[in-house]
Symmetry: D2
């Protein structure tokens, strides 16, 4: 079977495994106080050109989202997200588990619109009954989105402006951030993102690591006693080195960007192959996730050869599926896929 179902089906970049071996016997303090985590944090600060950035490593994305949202929000606040956002639908209610409501606004190919966001917030404050409603305290976006789409610099700036106008935190879920940054359509740098958002995370799990997301508070705004609160939520590993070593490796010699660029190149080849074979795209994605519509017949045929993701039923005869490249996709895999498309 050809592995195009997602970007987390293989292990880790070999440099990470080698680094595990090289550092293995070095005794380190626990709970994120190890020197690898410290070094990784410094490298991320540098990559973001944000010396005051506060960096914490969390094992997975659902957890990172829940920790960030529940520590930043005040008791009476909720988080605004696209109705198609990961936290809105596919995290098994993990935000509500922390007691907070996800306030949804329409997603457009996975993205929210700054003007619609502003209208929503204005509408809240204009409503005479808003004292009985959940206050918007944060905006959640993902870059790239669940549909592989990207916010442009102009779009992100507009959203950031709305947030700051209403004193609302802007949080970017970057589970696949590397693939976004390396897309030819992207016009946002890491330092620009760090300036425009209040907190974001740089995804490791889907970009070459075995696990781990680097949570970055960008304006010296990390919630107080953050480590204690991370532990309280079960999200602190005794061996913080596990994630520290991985991110230190990923942010040495631009590895994170290089492997992301590779995945994007593989996606370009995949896209070309799909276009050539006459597939109809479900959505125009400039990143490592590609979505096409297939007939039932084609669906059944592909299933014999390829691991892909079911996305959604279009009608009785058609289904949208997702094909994903990653840091680990090889040209051989693309060629083999092309042969069976």
């Amino acid at each position: 079977m050809l592995a195009f179902a997602n970007d987390y089906s293989k292990g880790a970049h070999p440099a990470i495994l080698q680094r595990f071996i090289d550092t293995n016997r070095d005794p380190q303090p626990g709970y994120g106080q190890d020197t690898y985590s410290a070094s990784a944090a410094e490298k991320i600060q540098a990559a973001c050109d944000c010396p005051d950035a506060q960096v914490t490593f969390i094992a997975g994305g659902t957890q990172a989202n829940a920790v960030i949202i529940s520590t930043v929000l005040k008791d009476y606040q909720g988080v605004i997200a696209a109705d198609t956002g990961h936290v809105s639908i596919h995290e098994a209610g993990s935000i509500e588990y922390t007691g907070h409501k996800v306030l949804t606004i329409p997603g457009h190919d996975g993205k929210i619109d700054a003007q619609e966001l502003a209208a929503y917030i204005r509408g809240f404050y204009d409503d005479e009954n808003h004292i009985q409603m959940v206050y918007p305290g944060m905006v959640y976006i993902s870059q790239p989105t669940e549909y592989g789409t990207l916010y442009s610099k102009q779009e992100l700036t507009a959203i950031s402006d709305v947030c700051h106008q209403y004193d609302i935190s802007l949080f970017m879920d970057g589970a696949r951030l590397g693939y976004g940054l390396m897309s030819p359509e992207n016009d946002l740098t890491l330092p620009e993102i760090a300036k425009l958002v209040d907190v974001f995370y740089i995804g490791g799990t889907k970009v070459g690591a075995l696990c781990g997301e680097a949570v970055v508070f960008t304006h010296n705004n990390q919630p107080e006693y953050f480590n204690n609160r991370v532990k309280r939520r079960g999200a602190q590993l005794a061996k913080g080195r596990l994630i520290g070593v991985q991110f230190e490796t990923l942010f040495t010699d631009n590895l994170y960007f290089k492997i992301s660029a590779h995945a994007i190149e593989m996606a370009a080849q995949l896209k070309a192959a799909l276009t050539e074979k006459g597939y109809q795209f479900f959505i125009a994605s400039p990143t490592n996730q590609q979505f096409v519509v297939v007939t039932n017949e084609k669906l059944a045929a592909l299933k014999q050869e390829v691991d892909f993701s079911f996305w959604e039923k279009i009608d009785d005869d058609h289904t949208a599926i997702r094909l994903v490249t990653s840091w680990a996709t090889t040209e051989e895999e693309i060629a083999a896929l092309k042969a069976v498309l």
Copy 2:
């Protein structure tokens, strides 16, 4: 500095790192559905001689405790633990974060007593006002305890009997279970534990893994939709293989038991050295954690050479400290430590 502060300061057993390398390119389904996790679960079932055991892998101990306790307890129930228990004190309120009370009874060198437990539960039901109190729904014990002590077969059986009499689940935190099983004073096998408790976990983080605990429900009693609830609590890794591979390795060729036995042998040498040097033991521990009382002077001197843990202040002149061996402790380290004791 000599590394005796804890059993999680070094990386992973080399066999685990090698296995990461060997399996790295093999594409696998996510969220715990990978073949390594399945294989690891089978090996654990076999080691427990418990074919119906339901095994789930969780990244860390605080999280494993919170997930188990909050999914097993009913809304109106709390968990009984020793007042010195990890969940009572050192997990930053992670159990209360899930909405449940930790009901404490006295710990005796870290252990609870079956008769005192029975008296507590009887007292609850005898109290005419218990409708206004938190119902005891689970008993939490750790083996070895936070003080390195062990429940004997007789003691565990007595506690298990009390629990079953009152229809209360018995949960054993086995963060250091290997070190308990391999202690010369231990008289409990893994199959016996699996019979006597309703749920326990086999600790990986402190016994040779980079992360991971194997949660085992022993009587086909895993809460329904458990995976969904694990995700809801942020405790599900996309790459379940990360933990699956580690436990598969640990439970192949008895590696888990061999490396645990090594730590116990190192602890025996440590103990002998401490005795020989005339140290006063704070508590008699038959496992890999050793506790001694030192003067302020000695404390200051040791700090120059050894990483150990502060345990508690005894009086103005004396402090209890903890020295810990692990799977990674070498004879050279013991010898070096002996030289500075």
Copy 3:
């Protein structure tokens, strides 16, 4: 100012106040164990023709909703509601405070549609990723709805059938149930409601009481240790008699139905007046809440004389407002209102 803003602006029906006086010196057990609560429960069982109904009194509607939803739902479940439902918007996130997600489907004049509900639930189970989503465990409806509209017997039966097909509880918020039951357009009796839903509450606060809602589990399905869980949620009054006395009075000699019928008669007069004066109705409501669209000019004029509720801005020149009658509305008030419309 004429009091048409809502149905909770005045005190209690005089018979209730008299009953407070008559029973005042009678010592009673606390926490809902008083004889008045027991008698009120019996009268409600009789009115529902449901001898097995389990009745508990809760002080207010937000609380009743939160207690019912959070005790019935399992940890991994959410509650389905209309996007316009009270629990979706106007309870300050009280459902999410209990850790549960409100899953919204479109409201049509405040009502959900059985077929859309079925499609939603089927869609959930058909989604291959539903293991990562919140399971639907309950359906919340209100009768009358927040828009004053009513479910017909056919509509409620269809919703009930869908719920039972998928083993989902059906909960009816009856904060204004009396006004629904007495509407000329209503074709549902209390016993029929008790048969079709799994739990509902009969609103007292808005129908003649100073406070209090009667929560009725209809199929011997009250969650175990319910009183303990009510207390745990802060919803148990020491003087249960406060609500017991009120509901005993309301369900003696059909008082609840008589005063509800009076409010509906007043609403009919209000509606006639509005029609006669040429007002445009925002929605066709057969109960005690009436909604009309007014110009800015009219809005300003009315504000001088009448307490009404802002409902929503229609456009720059028009606003929807709500005028509400209650058990306490007098013919004189209607006449006075008519004079200023």
Copy 4:
């Protein structure tokens, strides 16, 4: 049966019922915005000699405790209480339901000791592992305590000093505050209490009201958006007038203090009768709750004639029971009780 089981077995002071009648037809805004609540708040500010006091009315004590504690505490903090404190034991885990831990220290006849409190807090900050523990963020005391005992001015000042030294809020549960204030042994005034604590509540339910506690933040320190958070916790009544009217009445013409003084006078007569009859006191209580130890024989005999509370089993032959007076206790009842003692 003679009603000495508690202080909430009868209805309300007649002046309150009369005031319900007098104000019944007056239309008022909901959700605590009514003029009666405003007037009651002013009268309480005056009684506390604390013009900046922020007063909110909550229906019951369990709820008031949960609302206050959960809105004042930060996410990572817990509340310190006596191990015998109401929130520690008898509120069905309602504090843990909000996610917060109750940190217990020994109670001495229901009271905590300032020096032991200081030692506990110092011990927390001295512990090198406190980053893994729950931060103390509030101290909960009750006046009178669950045992009827009172903090003296000196004791309360000492506790207040410790709290302020460590920037911890001091919260006094005054469910029976009137009975404390009117005790001959009391040396604390309401204004002094308002100065020494950060938040307290004046109990209505047990002191003449049908329901209601007046929550008073004394230093302009009410948590922001407090009303919204009260609603979110289900603790906001639509008819805020229900409690507003009651407290307005209680704080007019010193009614609250007069009826409390009456209960204390009745308790003095009760105490004299018990002493005269040779009963052994379980604890020396200067307020309206009296505790005596009785033999099994006496226990059985009293049960025929008197409603009292079981307190605790002393040994196989003896039981501690509680006899309580209230604003509603009559001299006739005392005389009748005396006859059967």
